[in-house]
Amino acid sequence: MKLTLHIWRQKNASSAGKMVRYETDASEHMSFLEMLDVLNERLIAQGEEPVAFDHDCREGICGSCGFVINGVAHGPLPSTTVCQLHMRHFKDGDELYLEPWRAAAFPVIKDLVVDRSAFDRIIAAGGYISVSTGSAVDANALPVRKKDSDMAMDAAQCIGCGACVAACPNASASLFMSAKISHLGLLPQGQPERMERALNMVAAANEELFGSCTNIGECEAVCPKGIRLEFIARMNRDFLKASWTFRADRVEGD
């Protein structure tokens, strides 16, 4: 199949970028990234700079890949990362626009690659639990309701790809934050830090250049892992409760 691609080319973080047009050939059995690999081999052979894009597992589990295809983060197939998207979902003669995630919090490093370390800083602020040292507790010694473990697992699906921010008209990170806050907050192991986790992760996100959530739902529609708006409500609940009722632990000499 023949394709026309318009790809965002940007040399480095400080240079201005622009859309560049390429014609390429692809087989419907290729994945989207393989299609770009083929284009890149040709570009290298011609002595041109290949198109930079993030990828690692190519199995839809690591969260490295992701860019916007024709205005939709991770492309047209729901619940699918771009590495798991195949060319059979496109037609001969299609014209595709590939752009990096656009958000002040995710500056472009090169072409389709953005810096998502803002997510790491949010995780660092509260994505942990306290575990006592010594031998590990029996896995089934701590009862967890099936409903809670299911929901925690749903939230834990988030791979931190950033598509939610890219798709959100406000460039808000709410879906990602809510997945991380809910994942630990739903489990008994996550209870001791639950209130501070909500306060600290929300505060950390505030330090970054994300916008605020308007409950639009674009994030949910593009999330490759099916994270739901319901988790954002859960985060709001934890944050509101924590900010009204949180009591600081007493510290010696305070």
């Binding site: 306060l199 505060a203 916008g211 529609a221």
Partner: protein
């Protein structure tokens, strides 16, 4: 205080408070939006008395004017709500503008309503309308022939002007879109989302938006078509 103590007490100077946080602001918007929503329903029901004739409507207006406690209680509550709601809206809008300085060349919406994407348009238009509406029927500066206390007459003469009627109709369509998203969104903002109830909230939002638009728009339409005069 040492860094460790700061982490433990949670009294970190750089952790923003309730209002300084978008989630806190959104909760305030939800609560004030809920109050305003309650008001617009009551206001519409009161206004529909225009169909019962001049005596009924004017008597109702006089009752409101005489019950000073109710009148000023309502005015102060509404003004407070509007100020909080609008302040939060403008502050959050500032945040959104900074969050995506570079727009997409191509952007397709993958699953959101038009109403939800245009809250930052419908809201400010409503603000402009509220000011105009007060100057039209409450204080009278924007009315061609304002007679204090003669509410029925003011409504009829006011809506005989086609531009004024059109402005009201457009504004009510804006209120409808604002509430089509707002009525379910306010639950989400305060943390209420459940697979059992959220679909009901969305239905409630659609029904209430339609009722409010229909009820309010009917009045200028009735005047322009000569149904009430």
């Amino acid at each position: 205080m040492s860094a460790a103590a700061t982490a433990l007490t949670g009294k970190s100077a750089d952790r923003p408070g309730f209002w300084a946080n978008p989630i806190g602001k959104k909760a305030v918007m939800a609560v004030t939006g809920f109050v305003l929503f309650g008001f617009v329903i009551g206001h519409m029901v009161g206004n529909l008395q225009v169909y019962l004739g001049p005596e009924k409507l004017d008597a109702y207006a006089e009752f409101l004017q005489k019950t000073k406690g109710l009148l000023w209680g309502a005015r102060i509550t509404l003004l407070t709500c509007v100020i909080l709601h609008v302040t939060a809206a403008f502050q959050l809008a500032g945040l959104q503008n900074k969050a995506r300085p570079q727009k997409y060349v191509k952007k397709t919406s993958a699953g959101s309503s038009y109403a939800s994407r245009t809250m930052y348009w419908s809201g400010p238009i409503l603000l402009a309308f509220i000011i105009y509406h007060l100057m039209h029927f409450t204080t009278g500066q924007a009315h061609p022939d304002f007679q204090p206390g003669m509410v029925y007459r003011n409504v009829v003469t006011g809506f005989q002007s086609v531009p004024a009627s059109l402005a009201y109709i457009v504004a009510m369509l804006m209120l409808g879109t604002h509430l089509y998203h707002g009525i379910w969104s306010m639950f989400q903002s305060v943390g209420i989302n459940h697979p059992k109830y959220t679909p009901l909230f969305k239905k409630l939002a659609a029904v209430m938006a339609a009722v409010l638009v229909g009820g309010n728009v009917s009045i200028p339409v009735a005047v322009m078509t000569g149904l009430i005069r």
